[in-house]
Subunit: 246 residues, 2 copies
Amino acid sequence: MTTGVRRRMGVEQRREQLIAVALDLFGHRPPDTVSVDDIATAAGISRPLVYHYFPCKQSLYEAALRHAADELTARLAEPCEGPPGGRLSRVLRRFFDFVEAHGPGFAALLRGGPAMAGTGPSCAMIDGVRQAAYGHLLTHLGVREPSPRLELLLRSWISLAESTALLWLDGRHVPRAELERQLVHAFAALFAVSAAYDEGTAAVLVRVLGDEPVDGPFVRFTARSGVPGPARLPAGAAQPSAVVIG
Amino acid sequence: MTTGVRRRMGVEQRREQLIAVALDLFGHRPPDTVSVDDIATAAGISRPLVYHYFPCKQSLYEAALRHAADELTARLAEPCEGPPGGRLSRVLRRFFDFVEAHGPGFAALLRGGPAMAGTGPSCAMIDGVRQAAYGHLLTHLGVREPSPRLELLLRSWISLAESTALLWLDGRHVPRAELERQLVHAFAALFAVSAAYDEGTAAVLVRVLGDEPVDGPFVRFTARSGVPGPARLPAGAAQPSAVVIG
């Protein structure tokens, strides 16, 4: 029966199955604890047959990584429609969906675990996803040639999102929906900090806020605390360079 | 002459010299482009003699990394005296001093370059420095048992400081002093975002602001932009749970 199934599967189909099995295992256990035997068992085939499709463990891991990177990149795409804060919220929800599904694999990859990271291809793939995220942010901000300060702001926020997800995975003590919202707020807050130092960044923020409802997540930071704050300014009315704690 | 110097150097002294030479080279070029020959030449000794003190390239690299990690950890220490914003500013200045001095070595280490990172010892050492930074922050905040939300806030800010330094090194397009100030502001801004979700974190922030002058870097976010903002609240007067962009 197994043999019959095996015969009917084409090479690409079998490779895709093994990648899916590997990613499923990496979603539950750190990749460096998952052996080729584990993958073979979960796929219902023999260990030598795994090597028929992937010449070494590393090549299977890299193929799985490529698949995951492509999936994450696809999840980052968001139509340029509607208020910017809502767009960012939706992207973050899909990002955390991915993080939740791939848990230990995601952590091992970004932490530089011995199994997958530190190798040239994995670094390049991670950088590719980061570059895609950066490109999407620029598109949504309507910026073609970012200043060094704006670039640094966006890339450092992307890094903050990564590290927040990593820290969340370690125990999952804080509800992820809360962290998704906080990252939207953090985006606006860091933007405002940077805008205080850079007129170009401030101009972009003014324009973005012009597309944001006054009760949107970019503006409505006081909602949960019940503190009446001066946050309900007409969108884009003032230079958005003040981050105020009060 | 060289031989005479060599004879007079003890084992520990020679090891320290080789570590210093390696770190100096790593401060100018990526470690994976620095060979044992380069280190031997810069130290004025033969390649075999380097191997006399360090059995393999990796052991020399790891010793250099340990030395750098200890140096950075020492730079993070700051007396618990004076306004908190000023303390954080001084620590960040010393952190960027370190980053500037170790440039490519710092980048290779954190980016997971093939020469040093991805190995167990280097990951453990980096985590050790992060843990020291986290411990210092808790001490300065006067917190012994942080909530999961406060821990996540502090650890994610540490990660933001790391990634900001890494991004800065890539071209150094933004003055580092500006980034040091922005990271102080970002600390307060992210603190305020998190405080909106967590009463315990809000209470810590209120207490910290009570030790901060109203024109301190934790409060004075509008100073550079010239925007008259409501930032000059009496320290600790209100629940600091609003991050306002206006």
